[in-house]
């Protein structure tokens, strides 16, 4: 120590002298504190592993919360998950997580984990060996089918199902039992994204990828509070803005959020009028001659569909859209109703702000990425608004190139992987749809079932499925990895339906929830890394995780639960796998559905190795931008772009009008009710509330009010407000000037808290095309409680 300092003295400067002086002056106090230490003393406020080997091994997995799909490394010591860090090898998050990811492993260890099966006997749930519960489920399935027909049984899963979970569910119900009663909660979160993609491009899922963020100059968040809902992606946007000089973020929303605060510009619009604003942007782009004619002439065709399409609030609602080709002239005539000045009146957005947005999209020198998620998807015209934002990108040719990206984000970790790709929706098959003979033939072939098993008619979408349960058309429902008794809109009807005498409800979950409360059988499920599986995130990335720790008690993976029941029903031949390698075998069987350059999936061995692989994965290469021959091996037309999803090899621009919401504020119910999430909590909070850090940060739900509305109502922060809709009421504490500020005449309530069931108030209106309900708009009135 002395020696080195002496060497340094040769180059003494004033600065150094001062530093050294200070250092010596400080030495005595530093020694006093450091010297008092016993080397090796241990700290830590958490309970410490008894047999701590002192060693931690790190294993990769995708985070289990949210569709961003961050790669995490889970630290395992003595058979327990003890720590998390971001996976530096995962291109999604490059080593960074959010608070849910960092504390995710704590969700495994709540003391009230379900570890044994329970069966309701004379009204009370009693513990039984899991094999007995599985016998009962198989028996009930069989007798219900015999008594009430094949469509009286249903399975309802989730975008948190692993890919194998969804695959075996579809194979059993659609392939073996012959019913299309297979749905997933992802219907409630991204069905409009799917129909948006299908109607505009003929193929589902984004053309771009997260790397777009490193190239774009302009980010427009459409009703999308990314700062809280996709925080790791939002951070990447902020980092880009910091690093590059020409990056701007524009937040376009109905409520002022953390995203608005961080954005360079926040533009607020009246609920539902995003339809009009998107059309006005297109009007302005055409009017100013900012259309990319080369692109439009070669790659775009124009269409319109039906209008005045309804809201689906009545049982048995049916709607089928019909596309009609139109000319560019017809399209631009349609847009004449949407001049910025006219739209200012509908939307409350100043004409100059509409023109500003149009100028950003229209400037050929700027690369623009649009992000959206629930704001556009949970919308009674969700398919339309998806189409309309694609229109903007198509008119300007800003698509399928790095940084130019209309990007539909997903909420759940495997909404894409399990629900959209495996096709766990009533009309879907792993490849294609049940209505298509070839697709059915392919499924029957791979599944080894008679073709006649697969019903060519879709049955119930989610809302209609729960209506059918209420009506009694469905008598048996098996719910896995989701909590519909908190999340269904117009909740009371569906809970009462599930409780009716001869309904049989099976719930597979990890913790008790309001849904297990109505169950006749509860199966304890393995959670996340207690099983092997795969998720698929928002950017076409399939992410494998190994079983890292053991599930507690008799808990079993959802996949294996279904296999057990399938075998009891006599389908050993279709479900022949062993516990050792069933995930690998299922993956390799499932992968056959997607063979070919448009959707080729990576083999199991590659998935195991890497922190996620993007499809199409062709000849060992991932595809970052689809429809662009520089990146996408499926392009074959020899042009700059190939929109091969549609028969005319073009992307479709749609003339879609503005139509009002299903229920808007009136004199009696004079407020909009908007619902959503907060960064701390995942969906219904059944996992994140059991993570101490997250629960302690947001222990209970609240209602956000505009300060002036609060003043008029006479409530201050924390005082109770009664919110009343035509369907129900809830009384909860007010939050004023919190993290979000709704506009006047709107309240916002997060839905994670089962003590305040806000969905008893929401309306079960949905987009007639996607059948996805609108959780963002219904009418309520307020009272000081």
């Amino acid at each position: 120590m002395t020696t080195t300092n002496n060497q340094g003295d040769n180059e003494v400067t004033m600065k150094l002298n001062r530093r050294r002086f200070i250092r010596h002056a400080a030495t005595s106090s530093a020694i006093a504190t450091a010297g008092a230490l016993f080397p090796g003393i241990s700290f830590g406020s958490w309970p410490q592993l008894a047999n701590n080997s002192g060693l931690v091994s790190w294993q990769k997995a995708p985070c289990r919360f949210c569709g961003t799909g961050c790669g995490v490394l889970i630290g395992v010591s003595d058979g327990r998950a003890v720590a998390v860090k971001g996976d530096p090898n995962c291109s999604v998050n490059k080593g960074l997580c959010c608070m849910k990811g960092y504390h995710s492993v704590q969700a495994l260890y709540g003391k009230d984990r379900l570890t044994t099966a329970q069966v309701r006997k004379n009204g009370t749930l009693v513990e039984v060996p899991i094999q007995e519960a599985l016998d009962l489920i198989a028996d009930k399935l069989k007798t219900t089918r015999e008594l009430h027909g094949k469509d009286s049984v249903a399975i309802y899963g989730s975008g948190q199902w692993t890919i194998p979970d969804g695959y075996v569910a579809s194979k059993l119900f659609k392939g073996c039992l012959g019913t299309n009663n297979v749905e997933a909660n992802a219907r409630l979160c991204m069905a409009s994204a799917v129909t948006g993609f299908m109607t505009s491009f003929g193929l589902d899922e984004p053309m771009g990828c997260y790397e777009d963020m490193d190239h774009a100059n302009i980010f427009v968040t459409w009703g999308n509070n990314m700062a809280e809902m996709h925080p790791v992606l939002f951070s990447r946007m902020l980092a880009n803005r910091k690093r590059r000089t020409n990056v701007r973020i524009i937040d376009f929303a109905t409520r002022s959020t953390r995203t608005s605060q961080a954005a360079d510009k926040s533009i607020l619009f009246k609920p539902q009028t995003d339809l009009a604003v998107a059309n006005a942007i297109c009007y302005e782009i055409i009017n100013r001659d900012w259309v990319n004619w080369d692109f439009v002439n070669q790659h775009v065709s124009f269409h319109r569909g039906k209008t005045d399409i309804g809201y689906g609030t009545e049982d048995h609602f049916a709607f089928k859209d019909q596309a009609e080709a139109i000319s560019f002239e017809e399209y631009s005539r349609f847009l004449e109703d949407y001049t910025p000045e006219k739209v200012e009146k509908i939307s409350g957005v100043a004409a100059k702000d509409i023109k500003y947005l149009a100028a950003l999209y229209g400037d050929p020198a700027l690369k623009v990425t649009s992000f959206w998620c629930m704001g556009m998807n949970q919308h009674t015209r969700g398919t339309w608004i998806n189409n309309l934002v694609y229109n903007i990108h198509l008119l300007t040719g800003k698509i399928s190139t790095p940084g130019n990206s209309p990007f539909s984000l997903t909420g759940q970790p495997s909404a894409c992987g399990t629900v959209r790709e495996v096709g766990t929706l009533t009309h879907k098959l792993p490849h294609g749809v049940v209505m298509n003979q070839h697709h059915r033939e392919m499924a029957a072939g791979i599944w080894d079932v008679p073709l006649s098993n697969i019903d060519p008619k879709p049955s119930y979408h989610t809302v209609e499925m729960f209506r059918a349960l209420d009506r009694g058309d469905i008598k048996f429902i098996w719910i896995q990895v989701t909590n519909p008794m908190v999340t269904m809109p117009n909740l009371r009807r569906y809970r009462d339906g599930g409780l009716k005498g001869d309904r049989f409800v099976v719930v597979s979950d990890v913790y008790p929830t309001p849904t297990t409360d109505i169950a006749d059988v509860i199966l304890p499920a393995a959670m996340w890394v207690e099983q092997e599986g795969m998720f698929g995130n928002s950017e076409r990335r399939t992410q494998h995780f190994a079983q890292i720790v053991d599930p507690p008690g008799e808990a079993m993976s959802d996949t294996w639960q279904i296999i057990e029941v399938a075998r009891r029903l006599g389908f050993e031949q279709q479900f022949p796998w062993s516990k050792e390698d069933y995930i690998e075998k299922i993956w390799e069987e499932y992968r056959r559905f997607h063979a070919g350059p448009k959707h080729e999936m990576a083999p199991y061995s590659v998935l195991r190795e890497r922190s996620g692989v993007q499809w199409p994965y062709v000849n060992g290469r991932e595809t970052r931008w689809r429809f662009n021959p520089k990146y996408d091996p499926a392009c074959s037309n020899g042009k700059d772009f190939d929109f091969y999803g549609k028969k005319d090899n073009r992307a479709w621009i749609w003339a879609r009008p503005y139509e009002p919401a299903a229920e808007s504020p009136d004199n009696t119910y004079n407020f909009w009710l908007n619902t959503g999430r907060v960064i701390e909590h995942w969906h219904t909070g059944s996992m994140t509330r059991r993570i101490p850090v997250l629960h302690n940060a947001v222990p209970a739900a609240y209602v956000e009010l505009h300060p002036e509305d609060a003043a008029e109502l006479g409530v201050v922060n924390g005082e109770m407000v009664k919110i009343i809709s035509r369907r129900g009421e809830v009384t909860m504490p007010a939050q004023i000037q919190g993290r979000g500020v709704p506009v006047r005449g709107m309240v916002f309530v997060p839905f994670f808290d089962e003590s305040y069931l806000i969905n008893e108030l929401t309306l079960d209106a949905f987009c007639p095309i996607s059948k996805q309900p609108d959780y963002k708009k219904c009418a309520v009135r307020l009272e000081k409680a």
């Binding site: 010591s77 960092y102 902020l238």
Partner: protein, 220 residues
């Protein structure tokens, strides 16, 4: 980055040079640093060196004395987890980065809290509430069976007088200066010789939770 890769050929000889010159290179007189090609440090070393240069001198001296390891770990769920926010924050917890970084960017004395402010080791991440949670209540939703490992032990030199290795992962904690020096540092891990700048010259990462791999000469 570019610079570093262009200079790759220099790295070997320069490491050797560093060893010979020892701290003379790293003490960091302005005259000297002008002569030092920072591109020759490894990634972390360069960062540490730079932040040393930027550290105000008062920081190397004063000692708040009230931030100790027990407090440090109280805010965490396992070694390395993002700490909770131990003080009140505006409910709006604005997305404006200046809210947190105005104090935690550079540190300094906060009259409001009567304390020296800890400095973030990763100021490049500005969406603070992404990882750091408020504490509204200490009441749990339910009981938890969470357990984790013991925090790394202190002062575990491999040889009796050798510099102790770095016991923790450097991910998001590459900047040693921010936690180990200055009045906001945790007292037990505050270094007495912060004027040396390039910490990783002497302290090698040897994460305590990873097995020690002995060198084995690869077979022919």
């Amino acid at each position: 980055m570019m610079k570093q890769s262009e200079k790759r050929g220099w790295v070997g000889p320069c490491i050797a040079a560093c060893c010979i010159l020892g701290a003379a290179v790293t003490i960091g007189s302005p005259k000297h640093s002008a002569a030092i090609d920072l591109g020759n440090f490894d990634h972390q070393g360069q960062k540490v060196f730079r932040s040393y240069e930027a550290t105000p001198e008062t920081y190397l001296a004063a000692d708040s004395g009230d931030r100790n390891l027990a407090r440090f770990y109280e805010l965490r769920q396992y070694p390395g987890s993002p700490p909770r926010i131990p003080h009140g924050v505006e409910a709006s917890f604005s997305g404006d980065e200046s809210n947190c970084l105005s104090c935690h960017g550079k540190g300094g004395y906060s009259p409001e809290f009567g304390k020296f402010v800890p400095v973030t080791p990763h100021p490049e991440n500005t969406l603070c509430y992404q990882c750091h949670a408020r504490v509204i209540t200490e009441k749990a939703f339910g009981e938890s069976d969470w357990q984790s490992i013991r925090p790394p032990r202190l002062g575990r030199s491999f040889l009796s007088s050798s510099p102790p290795p770095i016991p923790h992962s450097l991910q998001l904690r590459e900047n040693c200066i921010s936690c180990h020096t200055g009045p906001g540092a945790v007292v037990e891990i505050r270094v007495e010789h912060s004027s040396r700048g390039n910490c990783r010259q002497c302290h090698v990462p040897a994460v305590q939770t990873a097995p020690v791999n002995e060198f084995v000469r690869p077979g022919p």
